[in-house]
């Protein structure tokens, strides 16, 4: 029976080879962190979510079905961890606010930081009105480049639902974008 490289690595991890676990997840480490970051808007929280997701992935690796898409499975776990985190965050909103303030103060290059900050602000403004599901769909489709079918598989919903949410998310983003863009143009004039 044909096995992909990932499936072979899954087998190795399940036989007790811990080093294969890192190799298995290395290609997705940036995508997962970015996804979690986009959902929370906070780097520290994103790292926490990914840490939690890594533990879940390792614990339930035996449940991964051979023949399925490993990337989709990993993203599903990370997204679910992010949802759990967001649910809990509402309870501890104050603590998170304090963390945010601490983190934004750090960074090496001031010019680069300013640029990054500006982009972050723009993204934050564009995504602020989106629901968690719309955010997840927009990030998966436009940020990570997943197809509609893959996005639906990751979120466990229909392709039609993905299209509807994506359409709504883009409409909201466009409305916000126009505000930012035309404000900027007016300032330049």
């Amino acid at each position: 029976m044909w096995m992909t490289n990932e499936e072979r690595l899954v087998g190795q991890v399940l036989r007790g080879d811990h080093s294969s676990f890192e190799l298995l997840l290395r290609p997705y480490r940036q995508g997962l962190l970015t996804m979690a970051y986009r959902m929370t808007g906070n780097y520290e929280e994103a790292r926490e979510i990914c840490q939690e997701a890594l533990i879940k992935i390792y614990r339930y690796l035996h449940r991964f079905k051979i023949g399925h898409n490993f990337k989709n499975w990993v993203y599903t776990i990370t997204l679910n961890s992010a949802y759990d985190h967001l649910r809990n965050r509402r309870k501890y909103e104050d603590i998170v606010e304090k963390q945010k303030n601490v983190i934004t103060d750090s960074g090496p290059d001031p010019e680069k930081r300013l640029l990054e900050k500006e982009i972050k602000k723009k993204i934050k403004t564009c995504l602020q009105n989106l629901s968690p599901k719309e955010k997840a769909i927009f990030q998966l489709r436009d940020g990570e480049g997943f197809s509609i079918k893959e996005t639906a598989e990751i979120l466990g919903c229909s392709s039609l639902s993905v299209r509807t949410h994506l359409c709504r998310a883009r409409q909201k983003i466009r409305a916000k974008f126009e505000k930012i863009y035309f404000q900027k143009r007016e300032v330049i004039k």
């Binding site: 029976m1 096995m3 499936e7 087998g11 991890v13 399940l14 036989r15 811990h18 676990f21 890192e22 997840l25 480490r29 940036q30 962190l33 970015t34 970051y37 986009r38 780097y43 994103a46 790292r47 990914c50 840490q51 890594l54 533990i55 992935i57 390792y58 614990r59 339930y60 690796l61 035996h62 079905k65 051979i66 023949g67 990054e116 982009i119 972050k120 723009k122 993204i123 564009c126 990030q139 489709r141 436009d142 940020g143 509609i148 299209r163 994506l166 359409c167 883009r170 409409q171 983003i173 466009r174 974008f177 126009e178 863009y181």
Partner: protein, 174 residues
């Protein structure tokens, strides 16, 4: 297609996520309607710019943080290893295969084909019970009182029969 309908579908048109038939109808409308075309272009600009920002704002782990996170995951939990883990096929199929094997074995014992029956009849337990039956039959017989000895002459063909009792005394019989 009407302008309102086209404009509601423009966000999906930007990412080419519309079925071919509908897509071509929208394209045809865009060629004719300048207002919708303008809407499409501004929608395209918004999404493309946001995508650019998303690409610029990608996060990555610092190597040591990543290694630490992986180590923590590996050391904190033990994976629940399934007995079917190294098999490259789905669990359902493995269970189905096992069920078939168990059913086949069960049927073998129920039907008992000839080779199983032969083996069962020649089993040591069966032999032992047969021998026991023979000894029991012998024990049930009455004790012997007389023994007869027959002697035949080769030359004359004369036949003499001796009857001996329990103490080997010769008995004379008419």
């Amino acid at each position: 297609m009407k302008c309102k309908k086209v404009q509601s579908l423009l966000p999906l048109m930007v990412g080419d996520e519309i079925p071919l038939a509908k897509g071509s109808a929208i394209k045809a409308h865009l060629k004719k309607c300048s207002r919708c075309r303008q809407e499409y272009q501004s929608c395209m600009l918004a999404i493309e710019k946001t995508k650019e920002w998303l690409a610029e704002d990608r996060k990555d782990w610092e190597e040591n943080q990543w290694q630490r996170a992986v180590q923590m995951a590996v050391s904190e939990v033990k994976p629940e290893v399934s007995p079917l883990a190294p098999w490259p096929f789905k669990k359902g199929w493995a269970y189905a295969l096992m069920a078939v094997l168990v059913t086949a074995l069960g049927l073998l014992f129920v039907i008992r084909p000839s080779f199983i029956q032969d083996e069962m009849t020649s089993s040591p337990g069966k032999e032992a019970s047969n021998q026991l039956q023979v000894f029991q039959n012998l024990a049930e017989r009455p004790e012997q009182d007389t023994i007869s000895m027959t002697m035949i002459s080769r030359e004359s063909g004369l036949k003499i029969v001796w009857f001996l009792d329990r103490n080997f005394n010769l008995e004379v019989k008419q």
